[in-house]
C-alpha cells in the first residue's frame, strides 16, 4: 500500500501547485497585459493586487448557476468537468525534478513514471477536446456551437503537427519516458539540436491551448465568447481553470522536452527551481504573444496548420532521422 499513499500525496501536491498556478496565472496575465498596454492592471485588492484571485474566486462562487432553456443538462454539467479533469491529469507524467531523499525514502519528483510517457500526455489532452465540443453543443446556442466546432477542428489539425514535432526529440533521446528525456539533456538541451522542432512545437502548442493568435474558439467579437458563452459561476471558472492548467502543462512539456527540464545552464545546481523558472518564463512569453499579435482568420489558421506547419514538422522528422542514422554509424 506504500506506493499508493506516496502516489496520493504526490497527486495532492501537484493539484495544489496547478490550482495555485491557475489562480496566480490569471493575475500574472492581467498584470503583464496591463503593463504591455501601458496601464497598471489590477492593483486594488491587497498589496500589488495579490488578493485579486481570491476576490475573483469568491465572486464566481456567489454567482447564480444558470443553464439555458433547451440545454442538455447532463452534458452541460459534464463538459467543464471533462475539460478540467483532462487538463489536471495531463501533468501526472511530467517530472519537476530528479530523485530526492525524503524521510529515508528515495522519491522521484514525478507522479507516475510510465513507459509511454509522452503518449499519455497526447492521449489525455486529445480527450480534453470533448469538454469544449460538448459545451458548445449542449448550450443550445448557435455561437457556442460554432465555437465548439471551430475548436475541435483546430485542435485536431494542430495536434498532428504537435505530435510530429515531438518525434525528433524522441529519436534523439530514444525513449518515451519524460524523466529519461530530461536526463538525456544533462549536457545539451534539445532546443539546440531541434530548433525547428521547438518552433513547430511552440506554434502548435499555442493553437492547442487556444491562445492568441489562435484563440478563434473564443473570438469575442464574432462569437460573443465562443463555447462557454452560456456558462456562469463555478462551471465557467472550471473552463478558465482548464485553460490555464493547459497553459501550464504545455509550458512544462516544452521545458521538459526542449529546455532541459530541471537542469540549469552549464550544469548549475540542478533542481526543481530551474524547472519552475523555465515554465514561468514560457508563460510570460505566451502572455507577451497574446498582447502583441492579432487573431488569425479561420481559413488562414487551417491553411497554415496543414500546408506550412505539418510539412515543416515532417521535414524535421526526416532531417533528424537521417542525422541520428549518420551519427550512430
Amino acid at each position: 500500500m506504500d506506493w499508493l499513499i506516496i502516489a496520493a500525496i504526490k497527486s495532492g501536491f501537484v493539484i495544489v501547485i496547478l490550482l495555485t498556478g491557475f489562480a496566480y496565472g490569471t493575475l500574472l496575465e492581467r498584470k503583464l497585459l496591463g503593463r504591455l498596454q501601458v496601464r497598471y492592471g489590477p492593483n486594488r485588492v491587497g498589496p500589488f493586487g495579490l488578493l485579486q484571485p481570491v476576490a475573483d474566486g469568491l465572486k464566481l462562487l456567489g454567482k447564480e448557476d444558470t443553464a439555458p432553456a433547451g440545454a442538455d443538462r447532463v452534458v452541460f454539467t459534464l463538459a467543464p468537468m471533462i475539460s478540467t479533469a483532462c487538463a489536471l491529469s495531463a501533468f501526472a507524467v511530467i517530472p519537476i525534478g530528479g530523485t530526492i531523499d525524503l524521510l529515508g525514502r528515495r522519491i522521484d519528483l514525478v507522479v507516475a513514471d510510465v513507459n509511454i510517457g509522452i503518449l499519455y500526455v497526447l492521449g489525455v489532452t486529445s480527450l480534453g477536446i470533448y469538454g469544449i465540443v460538448l459545451a458548445g453543443w449542449s448550450s443550445n446556442n448557435k455561437y457556442a456551437l460554432l465555437g465548439g466546432v471551430r475548436s475541435s477542428a483546430q485542435m485536431l489539425s494542430y495536434e498532428l503537427a504537435l505530435g510530429m514535432s515531438l518525434i525528433g526529440v524522441l529519436l534523439i533521446a530514444g525513449t518515451l519516458q519524460l524523466p529519461k528525456i530530461v536526463e538525456a539533456q544533462a549536457t545539451v538541451p534539445f532546443i539546440l539540436l531541434q530548433p525547428l522542432g521547438f518552433i513547430v512545437f511552440l506554434i502548435a502548442a499555442t493553437a492547442e491551448v487556444n491562445r492568441s493568435p489562435f484563440d478563434l474558439p473564443e473570438a469575442e467579437n464574432e462569437l460573443v465568447a465562443g463555447y462557454h458563452v452560456e456558462y456562469s459561476g463555478m462551471k465557467f471558472a472550471l473552463f478558465q481553470m482548464a485553460e490555464y492548467v493547459n497553459l501550464i502543462v504545455v509550458s512544462s512539456l516544452a521545458t521538459t522536452l526542449f529546455l532541459g527540464g530541471w537542469y540549469g545552464p552549464f550544469g548549475l545546481l540542478p533542481g526543481p527551481h530551474w524547472f519552475f523558472l523555465k515554465v514561468f518564463l514560457l508563460i510570460c512569453f505566451f502572455v507577451w504573444l497574446r498582447a502583441t499579435t492579432p487573431r488569425l482568420r479561420y481559413d488562414q489558421l487551417m491553411r497554415f496548420g496543414w500546408k506550412v506547419l505539418l510539412p515543416l514538422a515532417l521535414a524535421n522528422v526526416l532531417l533528424t532521422a537521417v542525422g541520428v542514422l549518420v551519427l550512430q554509424g
Binding site: D72, N115, I129, V149, L176
Partner: protein
C-alpha cells in the same frame, strides 16, 4: 486477484455503456457512450500490459475518430423523434442479425478450433521499459513490414479518393 477485479469492473462498465449506446435517444449521447466503451477497451489493454496499444487506442479512436463523429453529429443535430422512428423499423432486422451472430460465436466457442492455446490471465509481464521497443521491432524487423507498408499505401489511396470525391474541381 486485483487484475481480475479490475477487469470485471471495466468490462461491466463497457457492457452497460454498450447497451446505453444502443438505447440512447439522442445521437450525441450514443456517441458519448461509444467513447466510454473505447476508453474501457484501452483500460483492458493496460491490464494486458500493452501500454502502447492503450495510448494509441485513446489518441486515435477516442481522441480523433470520435471527435470527428461528434463534429458531424453536432453540426447536423438531427431531431430525437425522427431518429427513433427510423430505429424502430430496423429493430426486427437488427434483432435477427444479432441472434445469428450470437449463435455463430457460441458455435465457434463450442466446436470451432481457435488457433493456439488459451493464454494465462494476467499475461506474463513484458520487461517494463521495452514495451514500445518490442512493438517497433515486431512491426519492422519480423514479417510484418510488408503488410504495414501496404496498409499505409491503402490509407493514402483512401485519402486521395475522399478528396477527389468531395472536391470535383481541385
Amino acid at each position: 486477484m486485483i487484475d481480475t477485479l479490475f477487469f470485471a469492473l471495466v468490462a461491466a462498465v463497457a457492457v452497460v455503456a454498450a447497451v446505453a449506446m444502443v438505447v440512447a435517444r439522442r445521437a450525441v449521447h450514443s456517441a458519448l457512450f461509444l467513447v466510454v466503451i473505447l476508453f474501457c477497451v484501452a483500460l483492458l489493454y493496460l491490464t494486458l500490459s500493452a501500454e502502447f496499444l492503450a495510448a494509441v487506442q485513446i489518441i486515435v479512436y477516442a481522441g480523433a475518430v470520435m471527435v470527428l463523429f461528434l463534429f458531424v453529429i453536432t453540426l447536423l443535430n438531427p431531431a430525437a423523434e425522427q431518429q427513433l422512428a427510423d430505429v424502430r423499423s430496423h429493430g426486427i432486422v437488427a434483432a435477427v442479425l444479432a441472434g445469428v451472430l450470437l449463435i455463430e460465436v457460441a458455435a465457434v466457442l463450442r466446436w470451432g478450433t481457435l488457433a493456439g492455446q488459451p493464454a494465462s490471465f494476467p499475461p506474463p509481464a513484458v520487461p517494463w521499459s521495452d514495451n514500445v521497443q518490442a512493438i517497433g521491432e515486431g512491426l519492422f524487423t519480423t514479417g510484418f513490414l510488408l503488410p504495414f507498408e501496404l496498409t499505409s499505401v491503402l490509407l493514402i489511396v483512401a485519402i486521395v479518393g475522399a478528396t477527389v470525391l468531395a472536391k470535383r474541381r481541385l
